[in-house]
Symmetry: C2
Subunit: 343 residues, 2 copies
DNA sequence: CTGTTAGCGCATTCAT
DNA sequence: ATGAATGCGCTAACAG
């Protein structure tokens, strides 16, 4: 450890024989003192090892932190495991980094925002937090909040038209009223297991993106003269290979065997295609599969996946920009169909 | 916005007709006042909408923040794009989350730690920052620092035995002194392009994990009676498909065509195998490929990749634990060979 | 252009 | 068990 003094504004001012306000001004308000004096002070500080006002104290005083909390729906692990979430974060950081704003990660499964609320200028909230209690807290805070993929009354938000996107992609997979459809859904019910949905799920259907997607599938099926049977809808608790494979095996083992698989994420669809391969089911001849998200791996997979791309990075950028500009309105991101070989 | 008052310790104390110290004690030092009084105060606060002392002020006072800065080697984008970095982060967060410590993301390409140093209890620094100037700053700060994959004098650190791991995996690929070897290296030189290395690179070879890996390859080759030719070593600036494909195409187009490809990351190796497939080169018959990292996708790829797994999540956990326990020593993580079909 | 002062919201003595 | 006073390090208003 170099033998360095822990300078403060006050002590350094004393050392330099000027008042603390002068030092403060030298760093923060160049117009308040002569150019020469300013440079003189700044150089002296640098020489002595004082690198500017303590940011914590400065923030306490100003009420401005240059930190925004990025609230993830679940534990932080989730974020870095899911490619869609990752690109969202990439978008957010690319905007904030430019502005010198730092990102504090916050888990949506936390009990309270108390631990961090006093350190940040506001929240960018990616997806409905697993802990619903947090939503109330966001409603009641007077810090800025931008929500993504869900809404809080009178807050800025960024959304994808999930119902329409699901409708569009389902249309690519459905061909006739003879089709046998199975749906591999993501977090349709609040249970941590892979299972069939059976009963109409009871969580608020309009606010959950999964239920919006389900509605889109439903509309597409209705158009084709088909109906959703709830014993052919699976709930998958997390978008990963483990849970998805279980659901896919179940779905592909029932009679009559489905020839259309509507999957609420690409990771789910890819797992399903792997299982189908293992079971020697030909894609797309015997089974048509569509995903949701448009991740890189889906393009590279053989056969490539037909899916609907939601530009997550764009979503992140927009959310960050809305945060910076104090937006209050709701915005929508366009989606785009990616036609592959899987249907 | 609910019409809520912005309570402070002082104002709430006044409201309740007690001194501010009493309220402070009620929240922080239960032993300083009677159980009944404490509960009475806490409940009154909760009812009025005061959720405890302002954390920013509290931290300024105590000098403790419950925030650790996670320093990424490059821009934040890098972190979320790279699966190895992601699992590292997963490990870190799994430990810190339990302790109620929050994570502030910090880009290693930043100029100064000034903007955040006053908000955090310390740094976990994942990989040598792109901006070398930061290293000096870490040396000089009196906050805690844990480095990963590199060292700063007298600081806690977590490392993988890169040289040995590279040696081990190269041994799986090398068969005879007739082998034609090409190396697809990661960030061997400080240039943002895909190119051959040619001259002995001049950055500090011992501190860079890439050069440690190169040394490992070299030792394995020497054992087999082979020599590295620098015109057969490529520099890839970032571990992604774009740069890697370019390098792979170059490497597979030279005469005599390499029959062994040593790749410094799995993403590079996978890209190389894709290129080889496009060029109708049979793996492993005509080309043996090994990677580095042991990511999920490498197992699933056909043919599956032979690689060496460094348990990144474990690395993250260890780094976080060392941070929490004020460790000062250097620790090593074991690696593990994963034998696939690619050689 | 410079210096003095009063807080930002809190924790911690030291009295009582 | 409790209350008054001091300062963590800083900024902004004001006076000179």
């Amino acid at each position: 450890m170099t033998n360095k003094k822990n300078w403060t504004l006050k002590s350094i001012a004393q050392e330099l024989g000027v008042s603390n306000a002068t030092v403060s001004n030298a760093f923060n308000r160049p117009d308040q003192l002569s150019e020469t004096k300013r440079i003189e002070i700044l150089e002296a500080c640098s020489k002595l090892g004082y690198f500017g006002p303590n940011k914590a104290a400065q923030s306490l005083r100003k009420g401005k932190f240059n930190i925004v909390a990025l609230v993830l729906p679940d534990s932080l692990e989730y974020m870095v495991t899911d490619p869609v979430a990752s690109s969202f974060m990439k978008g957010v950081s690319s905007i904030l980094e430019k502005q010198g704003i730092n990102i504090l990660l916050f888990s949506g499964s936390s009990e309270h925002i108390n631990n961090i609320v006093d350190f940040v200028d506001g929240f960018i909230c990616y997806g409905q937090p697993r802990n619903y209690g947090l939503i109330e807290q966001f409603k009641n805070t007077n810090k800025k909040v931008v929500t993504v993929d869900f809404d809080i009354e009178r807050n800025a938000s960024v959304n994808v038209r999930n119902e329409q996107a699901a409708y569009d992609v389902a249309n690519l997979a459905l061909r006739s009223e003879e089709d046998e459809v199975a749906i591999l859904g993501l977090r349709l019910i609040d249970a941590n297991v892979t299972c069939r949905v059976y009963d109409q799920p009871d969580i608020d259907t309009s606010s959950s993106i999964s239920h919006q997607r389900l509605s889109g599938y439903q509309r597409a099926m209705t158009d084709k003269g088909l109906n959703i049977h709830h014993d052919r809808v699976w709930n998958i608790p997390e978008s990963n290979a483990h849970y998805a494979s279980i659901a896919a095996r179940e779905a592909l083992s029932i009679q009559p065997r489905p020839n259309v698989l509507l999957c609420m994420s690409d990771l789910i669809a890819l797992s399903a295609m792997r299982e189908a391969k293992n079971m020697n089911i030909a894609i797309p001849e015997e089974l048509r599969v569509v995903g949701f998200d448009g991740i890189e791996e889906a393009k590279r997979f053989i056969p490539s996946l037909t899916t609907v791309h939601q530009n997550s990075e764009q979503k992140g950028k927009l959310a960050a920009e809305m945060f910076m500009s104090d937006s209050k309105h709701g915005a929508y991101i366009e989606h785009e169909l990616l036609v592959g070989e899987s249907c």
